[in-house]
Amino acid sequence: LQREIDVRWSATRGLVWTQFDDSDDWVVFNPFSGDIHLVSASAYALWQLTTSPHPPSSDELIETLAAETRQAASSDFVASAHQTLAFMDGAGLIAPAA
């Protein structure tokens, strides 16, 4: 939990993102792992926030996402965002900033 609070996230460079005309989902190819992942539009929005030159913390990311999507940062919203960050970390789409 402490790690989730303190860690700052940075987007992995070199990922290949693509989107199709029949859905707002994204598909991302991670050339470092060779894996392909299906990513929802909101997860992609969260990922985009990690491309900031100043790596945001988990809390900052969730706050910004809630503001941008005009959602209340309810406990469900926060838990879901943490799950998404954990997924993106595991898939190598984001990494703790150095």
Binding site: V16, T18, F20, D22, W26, V27, P31, G34, L38
Partner: protein, 300 residues
């Protein structure tokens, strides 16, 4: 391939042109010779030894020549598999070719799928073994579709087109009798039992498909079939993202090719319509599949 063109099969070997590949094959085993004479009769053959794949199906030495004789596979100088019974020699050649293409054909993005075509539009049939992929493929070929392959969708990354690899169609278990009934005029190889204890047979590809082996096809429709006893035919659209994910899952080399491999499959997914097909009755399913490709032919 004719009996005389196979004169050097047991010595220096022969070169068979199979789609975009030159295959050099050597074997002294009669089942391999019979297999090539029967199922590769329409393929160009020469004596050149240059090849993309060098396949030797060698008989065993010593007492194994007479007692439970075996076939040993040597592929590009390596022996990747344990020996198998000699009577499977012909089928072994086929399975070895599958191994070679899936492992080494990196000029293409290679996916495990059957591909057939009519009126210039190709239908890709993707699915795990047992989904009814080869049965559908064979039935469509018997209904006049051009066979590109019952095993591989080979996408050229430069053009996005599908390269044909027409070869004998592999049938297993119940689909053997279904296809034999639907195509009594077709030529079949010897029936056998494979190492998974499944009945198998190979059906000779139509001459018209072999003759058009250098003519690529435009991908138009992808289906993910599921044979389900007693179920009515149903077709449901699949999102392009799912088409990409599922085709990539069936690809042998997209990650080997890296970004180029991914983008090739993504471009394919962008250009085709994807469907889940559930069926039990070929006579009901086939016209529906023809309709999918025909509807793409009509101007918007």
């Amino acid at each position: 391939v004719t009996p005389s063109s196979l004169a050097s099969l047991a010595t220096s070997g022969v070169q068979v042109t199979i789609g975009p590949f030159l295959v050099h094959v050597r074997s002294e085993l009669p089942p391999v010779r019979q297999y090539l004479e029967t199922l590769y009769a329409d393929f160009p053959v020469g004596t050149d030894t240059a090849a993309h794949f060098d396949i030797r199906v060698a008989g065993s030495r010593g007492m194994r020549r007479w007692i439970r004789p075996q076939a040993n596979l040597i592929v590009n100088g390596e022996q990747p598999f344990l020996p198998l019974p000699a009577e499977l020699g012909g089928a072994l050649f086929e399975w070895t070719l599958n191994f070679c293409v899936s492992r080494d054909a990196h000029r293409f993005v290679a996916m495990h799928a059957a591909v057939v075509e009519r009126e210039g539009r190709a239908l890709i049939i993707s699915g795990e073994s047992g989904a009814g992929k080869s049965t559908l493929c064979a039935a469509l070929v018997l209904a006049g579709w051009r066979l590109l392959s019952d095993e591989f969708a080979l996408v050229d990354p430069d053009t996005g087109m599908l390269s044909p690899l027409p070869r004998p169609v592999s049938l297993k278990n119940a689909s053997i009798d279904i296809i034999r009934r639907r195509g009594p005029q077709m030529v079949f190889g010897p029936e056998g039992i494979d190492i998974e204890n499944a009945r198998f047979v190979h059906m000779k590809p139509p001459l018209s498909s072999v003759r058009r082996a250098s003519e690529p096809a435009t991908p138009a429709v992808v289906i993910f079939p599921k044979w389900s006893a007693g179920s009515p035919t149903s077709l449901a659209r699949t999102s392009r993202a799912q088409v990409l994910l599922r085709l990539a899952d069936q690809s042998f080399n997209y990650n080997y090719l890296g970004v180029r491999g991914f983008e090739t499959i993504a471009d394919l997914a962008r250009r085709v319509e994807g469907y889940e097909l559930e069926y039990s009755d070929l006579d009901d399913a086939l016209p529906r599949l023809a309709g999918l490709c025909d509807s793409r032919a009509r101007p918007a």
